[in-house]
Symmetry: C2
Subunit: 338 residues, 2 copies
């Protein structure tokens, strides 16, 4: 089939490579001429995946007319903050395509909306799917085995898309919880910052494992309030992606946290990163939503205080550890599943 | 209070250090004279925690008469296979003590019983607690922040013990599911071997994260059948300890798997290890229990085939990835919590 991918970053490029290797005709919409030229002529994306050779049935273009011509599926692989703007720019093209797959792991800071919600507003009559799970783009591009979750509302259509995108090294599980999958992917980025801070402070592997586990409790608390299903947070898009992001130094959010733990300054860290760390903005949204829904998120709030209130990372993490002795699962929510 | 610790390995020594620093009078029962002498005279355990200085209110002895004199709590920190034998040897001493804390993460291979079950058989009228959670002994001994779960059947007594053993860097959560906590601690070791194999084969972080996540599904399937509570497996003793053991190179089970993935021979690996890797034996028990209860555990079975059927690690892990496309949570069990 003809697949149009929006976004020539590392994730968009890696996914395009999988789809093209599977035999689909893939076209990537990119912003920069250099990226388009490199992909088309040198079969590489030197800015994001420099060591990877791309297949010849993968093309890139600056022009939506080319990219969306006869496209049957649109794959969204851009940062969450850019989604609305891009949608406005290319609405006429994308609304002709029936299937849309969001691979965006973030929440739009300004509207507090998830990509799924935004896509639904613009493309109300289309089928919108969400991809999640533990998947560093670089490893997918290297052809290393990866398992992801594809979530859609209609089982038969989800199964159809699942068969189209699964490939030898790219195992795709089906889910009926697109909302949960994208919330899991977004919320985990805040905990990844906490995990990086802990490692930057040199607190050790035990501390990091507890932070991740208690961080998952926070993701579940907020994520289920926002409409995600419990099982999703305990699956590949939840725990799987969380532990990958929190323990693998390839994660940008983890890197931001690590540098903070080392005492570096946030604005300088973000300047050096050259890429988007979704968790930095997601943390603001999480703070607001947690207050709105009245859920207790001590780790996420500590990250907020460190990012936006200039609090000492060491002090904040120490506070987390010195709270009153309690039961592991105190809230009625967890008692109900125990 | 007076605490008697059984086992002068790394975990027994590290826990003893925490308790002694908290101000308790701690005595460790050890097997080897050299260990007792080193702890008493040099304030160190050169065999397991060579770089750690132990507090002066921590003593070691070969003689139960000394160790259990006036003891109010007995802490069990020996390998699971040794429990029955040791219980038989010191039954007269330990049955005078009312509180017992099992810190053993394994299942006795011969009887297929967990330490809690065995302790209950020997000490039917005593209160038996279980400690779990992500806790590399070395980091605990270094005073790095660690969060654990203390599980007991009676809330008030559990709370009392919680207050006695919690310390500044040693955060203790309470649980009412001793069975689940110990099952989580034991079953995770099989998945840790799988995780090590994956890394030894160089399959990457995505593959490892999926293995851990799907491994957790297996732990939940079997663990709940055996009487553990669902929430426990999603807490510190479950996910927390699982992800620590599967991603931290300090784990012996992970190391065994890693060497297998590198093509080394099991008997040679175990010979080089000098310590017990509980998962190797636990895997046999898991295989038997899974067949008895008719639960599907593809990862644990693959580990079994690699350990005991001389199957190629690469082939087994490839088979795991090439199974039919499916839903993430197909079984009714997970559907019910979703």
């Amino acid at each position: 089939m003809k697949i149009a991918v929006i976004g020539g970053g590392s994730w968009g490029t890696a996914l395009s490579k999988v789809f093209a290797e599977k035999g689909h005709q893939v076209s990537i919409l990119v912003r920069r001429k250099e990226v388009a030229l490199a992909i088309n002529q040198k079969k590489t994306n030197p800015f994001y995946l420099p060591e990877i050779t791309l297949p010849s049935n993968l093309k890139a273009s600056l022009y939506p007319e080319e990219v969306f011509l006869n496209a049957e599926v649109v794959v969204w692989a851009i940062p969450s903050f850019a989604l609305k703007e891009v949608l406005n720019q290319i609405k006429d093209f994308v609304e002709k395509v029936d299937f849309h797959l969001s691979c965006i792991k973030g929440i739009d800071f300004q509207s507090k909306k998830t990509p799924l919600t935004i896509l639904k507003e613009f493309l109300s009559k289309k089928e919108i799917f969400v991809l999640g799970g533990p998947s560093f783009a670089k490893e997918v591009a290297q052809g290393l085995p990866t398992a992801v979750v594809l979530a859609g509302e209609k089982e038969d259509l989800t199964q159809k898309l699942q068969e189209e995108i699964a490939y030898s090294y790219f195992r795709v599980y089906r889910s009926d919880d697109p909302k949960g999958v994208e919330l899991a992917g977004a919320l985990k980025n805040v905990i990844a910052i906490a995990s990086g801070i802990s490692d930057g402070l040199g607190l050790g592997l035990n501390a990091r494992a507890s932070l991740i586990t208690r961080g998952l409790v926070e993701i579940v608390r907020l994520g289920t309030k926002l409409g995600g299903k419990l099982a999703t947070f305990y699956g590949l898009a939840g725990i799987g992606d969380l532990l990958l992001t929190c323990t693998g130094a390839l994660s940008r959010n983890y890197k931001v946290g690590y540098a903070l733990g080392k005492g570096e300054n946030l604005s300088q860290i973000l300047k050096n990163l050259h890429q988007v760390a979704e968790g930095v903005k997601t943390c603001l949204v999480v703070k607001e939503l947690a207050e709105k829904y009245n859920v207790e998120l001590p780790i996420s709030f500590a990250v907020y205080d460190i990012l936006y209130k200039n609090e000492e990372p060491k002090k904040c993490l120490k506070n987390l550890l010195s709270r009153a002795l309690k039961k592991e699962f105190e809230d009625p929510f967890f008692v109900s599943i125990s």
